[in-house]
């Protein structure tokens, strides 16, 4: 019986520390983009 492929992730949460800045940047940029789009639409009106 072979182990599942991700069994050796071990301290998998450690990898999340590398992912966290990516997620934060994406979320902040998405919110900012949304805000600017709304502002642009308001300007056009």
């Amino acid at each position: 019986m072979t182990a599942p492929p991700l069994a050796h992730l071990g301290h998998w949460y450690h990898s999340l520390l590398y992912l966290a800045p990516v997620v934060i940047v994406v979320v902040v940029l998405w919110v900012q983009e949304r805000r600017e789009r709304r502002r642009g639409e308001a300007d056009e009106e």
Partner: protein, 472 residues
């Protein structure tokens, strides 16, 4: 809106999938003793990129790199071209000769180190500093030009070449780099000197046939994988060689001149994806006892493949998946960018911004192979004296050894982090500069680059995660 949400989610997912727990340790020796945890470097890198982005948005309102002026600084005599070409052919012959006639122990033979360290790793480093030096030393190009010169002197001339097919673009180069990466990372006999010699001869033969069909320069510019690969890196260099003349230009100034013909996006994604896989494949997540590779390999063995073939199939899948993931992350960034402004489709934007991936590709090469070059590069001192591994001592350096204390583990790590951050900041700069041309309003240009910033932060975190895993 939904499309952008999906793009954002997929960017994050893509980066997450690309983040295992170990990576590349080409010759890395010693133990790191860093003042802060390694993951904090990824956070710091993200902060640097965000600050760079804000600085670009506020201090860089007009394109500055699209049309840079080049200043001639030096002319070189025609004979130098001949000498460089002869040296290139000489090195080529030496590698093939060593491969066939020398010891079949990889570390004792000149061929593997010459190919995997000097050719594949040292030339990109030299190209960044000195411009496209490979063009001068390219052995198959030099041979073809030599034959063409002889024919023209004999009065016969050469037949008019066919027009290089537009639809082919840089696809042959993309496939060539993928094939090289496959040999380097997947093929079980990758270190076998005689096998390498055969592959080198095969590659040169294909290039000679291609050049004879489509002309030396059109083929070299588009289809010779290594010429195209090194030429892309040379676009970042402040030195530009053109028609036996050396020009000086601002760093990065050559990249916006990249002609994004079909296959260029694929080529750059292959370049980044294959190096990323090299990192991944040395980590515990991939090769550890309970890693993905042994598990997949066992499955292929169960369906009847030999252990060797099963391993190659497994690694081929990993290589292709990594290239696909890198392509997907870039594509998602472009899809996000396309949602800003009107009149731009994804394919057009994908090509117009592809030059921003060149510094990232080079940063990955520097970060992943710096230690290999530093340590294994020293082996050239004794290999040139004893290329066949038969005990000869041509230059009196056969007893030289590798100094593993030349650069410590901390030093390697700092170089890797610096290369990755600088490479991505350069990519951001190139993308911002291009956005100012593509989008009519500065505000739209800045908004479009939110997506490229996300891509850059994603690639930086991926690179640092792969490297940190190797150092554990």
């Amino acid at each position: 809106m939904r499309r952008r949400l999906l793009a954002a989610a997929a960017l994050a997912l893509g980066a997450a999938l690309l983040v295992p727990g170990t990576a590349l340790a080409h010759g890395l020796v010693g133990k790191q003793d860093l003042p802060i945890p390694r993951w904090l470097f990824a956070w710091a890198a993200a902060v640097v990129l965000v600050v760079s982005f804000v600085a670009l948005a506020t201090l860089w309102p007009r394109p500055r790199l699209e049309r840079v002026e080049e200043r001639p600084v030096l002319k070189v005599p025609a004979v130098l071209e001949v000498v460089c070409g002869a040296i290139g052919i000489g090195a080529f012959v030496a590698v093939v000769w060593a491969g066939f006639a020398g010891s079949q122990t990889a570390t004792a033979n000149l061929a593997p180190t010459m190919i995997y360290v000097v050719f594949w790793v040292a030339i990109p480093f030299a190209t960044l500093l000195l411009g496209d030096v490979f063009a001068a030393f390219n052995p198959w190009r030099a041979a073809a030009r030599g034959v063409s010169w002889v024919f023209s002197r004999a009065g016969g001339g050469t037949p008019t070449p066919l027009a290089y097919p537009t639809w082919l673009g840089r696809w042959p180069a993309a496939l060539g780099i993928l094939a090289f990466a496959w040999v380097e990372l997947v093929y079980v006999n990758r270190d076998d000197p005689s096998t390498l010699a055969i592959l080198v001869l095969l590659y040169a033969a294909v290039q000679l046939v291609g050049m004879s069909l489509y002309g030396i320069e059109p083929w070299t510019r588009n289809a010779d994988a290594f010429s195209v690969y090194f030429r892309l890196f040379s676009m970042l260099s402040p030195l530009h060689w053109r028609a036996r003349e050396l020009y000086l230009r601002p760093p990065l100034g050559g990249a916006p001149r990249l002609d994004p013909v079909t296959g260029t996006v694929a080529l750059l994604c292959v370049m980044i994806g294959t190096v990323s896989f090299d990192g991944l494949s040395q980590g515990q997540l991939w090769t550890g006892t309970d890693g993905i590779a042994p598990h997949l390999q066992q499955r292929f063995i169960n369906v009847g493949f030999s252990a060797e073939t099963a391993l190659e199939i497994t690694f081929t899948i990993g290589l292709l998946v990594m290239v696909g993931l890198v392509s997907g992350v870039y594509r998602l960034g472009v899809v996000g960018m396309q949602s800003v402004g009107r009149g731009h489709d994804v394919t057009e934007l994908s090509r117009r911004f592809v030059h921003s991936l060149i510094p990232i590709a080079l940063a990955y090469v520097i970060a992943h192979y710096f230690s290999l070059l530093t340590y294994q590069g020293q082996a050239m001192a004794f290999l040139v004296s004893d290329p066949l591994g038969d005990g000869s001592d041509i230059f009196g350096t056969a007893t030289a050894t590798i100094d593993y204390n030349l650069v410590g583990a901390n030093g390697v790590w700092y170089v890797q982090v610096f290369a990755l951050v600088l490479g991505h900041a350069c990519g951001l700069t190139l993308a911002h500069d291009r956005a100012l041309v593509v989008y009519s309003r500065v505000r739209e240009a800045t908004r479009s680059q939110y997506w490229m910033l996300a891509v850059m932060v994603g690639f930086t975190s991926l690179g640092l995660w792969l490297l940190s895993a190797a150092a554990q």
